[in-house]
């Protein structure tokens, strides 16, 4: 996938701006607070219909304006498409080749991006909720039916938790929600575990490249309760029926604990991603630099995942991250990427690109909401 052209109208600090990209490496250079991240946010919006840094769409509308528009020309598997997202205070509309899409889910999944930003360090340092969100976002983009099961699971969970909050729990009613919770929960667990299995190999390989093969990275999907009383020694996370039966049993087993807690204490809403480096848990042992490399590996692994699922490479957006990785690794990374996919990078200095032929990349200067080629 490639983005050929991007137009921003009243988006963040841009009034009316068009940019033409080249294949390979594109670099936005400028001081802080000039609009570099805003430009990447717009490309993310064009792909996913959402900002990567705010859940409130109107934040993206230029101060004092009523409407923001992001539009672009993209190439996906050798065919051209024009995409357009319009934001107003009241809502948003998305268009493909000029045709308005009824639902956002009809829009997403055509043109895909992977964005790596400094905040991604939270994937390693932050809580399990951030890691689950990472999985949910990625699976939601590539497999819309995943969102169906996740939505049902969450709704059922909310109903069950309400029952658990009552002074005397009506277990007959809880039981009828348990069946559905296990049904959709097993789908969520198995699809996530499958995703993590795919990502594991990719992430390990990327990490090997950017760390010169000194340490081995491992990523696994971790069930919330790994105690002998709830998890059989050999639960196969690729077998939906087994996971469903286990979940049903675990829910039954945790009845007292759930009633005491006033909410459900087992299930995919409590699961996590676990990282180890040379068999040591990362959040305890890894250095800041290693943690950053792991977060980057995870994002770059998404590239291979999207390629495997869609047959095409996404566009890679790197926001201000090169200066945070050491020189050698950055170079390895950038050099390896530009061969197969289009990359758009923001930076405050050209130092990280030392040694790269400048004619290989297209440079854009960003200054107070104006981009010059």
């Amino acid at each position: 996938m490639k983005i050929r052209e991007l137009t921003l109208e009243n988006f963040r600090n841009y009034e009316d701006q068009t940019v033409e990209f080249q294949d390979g490496v594109n670099v936005f250079i400028g001081d802080n607070a000039q609009g570099k991240t805003n430009a990447l946010e717009a490309i993310h919006m064009l792909a996913v219909g959402k900002s990567h840094r705010t859940a409130r769409d109107p934040d993206c509308i230029r101060a004092g304006q009523l409407r923001a528009v992001v539009s672009g020309a993209v190439t996906v598997r050798n065919s051209q498409a024009s995409l357009r997202v319009e934001l107003t205070q009241g809502g948003k509309r998305a268009f493909v080749n000029g045709l308005s899409q009824a639902k956002l889910s009809d829009y997403v999944g055509r043109f895909q991006v992977v964005l790596f930003a400094p905040e991604d360090l939270q994937l390693i340092k932050g809580g399990p909720a951030q890691r689950r969100r990472f999985i949910d976002m990625e699976l939601g983009q590539t497999h819309p039916s995943y969102l169906y099961h996740l939505g049902k699971y969450q709704r059922t969970l909310a109903q069950r938790n309400r029952l658990l909050k009552q002074p005397r729990v009506d277990w007959d009613s809880v039981a009828v929600f348990d069946a559905q919770l296990a049904l959709h929960g097993a789908q969520v667990v198995c699809r996530r575990a499958q995703f993590v299995r795919q990502m594991r190999g990719y992430a390990r390989e990327v990490y090997r490249q950017i760390s010169d093969g000194r340490e081995t990275l491992d990523v696994t999907y971790q069930l919330s309760l790994r105690t002998p009383d709830t998890e059989p020694a050999s639960l196969d996370l690729s077998r939906v029926d087994d996971v469903r039966a286990w979940l049903e049993e675990a829910l039954d087993h945790r009845k007292d604990a759930d009633a005491a807690a006033g909410h459900t204490t087992v299930g995919p809403h409590r699961d996590d991603l676990a990282f180890t480096l040379a068999d040591q848990p990362v959040h305890v042992f890894a250095s800041q630099g290693q943690q950053r490399s792991i977060a980057l590996s995870l994002r770059l692994a998404e590239i291979d995942f999207i390629h495997a699922e869609t047959g095409d490479y996404p566009v890679l957006l790197l926001d201000d991250v090169l200066s945070e990785l050491d020189d050698h690794r950055q170079r390895n990374l950038v050099m390896s990427m530009k061969e197969k996919l289009q990359t758009i990078i923001t930076t405050t200095s050209l130092a990280p690109f030392h040694g790269m032929l400048h004619r290989e990349m297209r440079l854009f200067h960003v200054h107070s909401g104006i981009i010059t080629g």
Partner: protein
Amino acid sequence: MWGYPEPITRLIEQFMKLPGIGPKTAARLAFHVLSMPEPDVMQFAQALADVVHRLTECAICCNITEQSPCSICRDAARDDRVLCVVQDPKDVMAMERTHEFNGRYHVLHGAISPMEGIGPNDIRIRELVQRVGTTDIAEVILATNPNVEGEATAMYISRLLKPFPVTVTRIAHGLPVGADLEYADEVTLAKALEGRRQL
């Protein structure tokens, strides 16, 4: 809202009790009523009063009716041995439009939803169990909505009906995901009825 004559304020407040109607829409509706010919307004008011005064619940199927038992329960040509359980009176209408079903109905008036404070005792489940226990029914078709609450209700009922010598089936999910029965088109609904599975 202050500044309007008192009767208008009161009418606006009444409209705001309806689902999905905010103050602006309520005001627009109230002023529309003002511009309507008086006979139309009186008919409107009468229709509102009639739904409370002239309608009652059928003593057999719990559907809303002017006369209990309702016309479906009184219809001797219908099959007593098949009972279709639905959430709302509107679902009976949807099912009737398919012309595929010739049994009897039972209307629950809702589905189990703890978040909305609706438990099994707040809908007509007890009446259903009593009916199954006292009449000669061979099959109970659970046609509650295919969403979380409708599924939970179907399962709750199927468990309660275990001791009785009836076959309990669930309407097939050819229905659009998350759709209410009421909005399903006739063909889809007829297919869902045809493809029902045993619980």
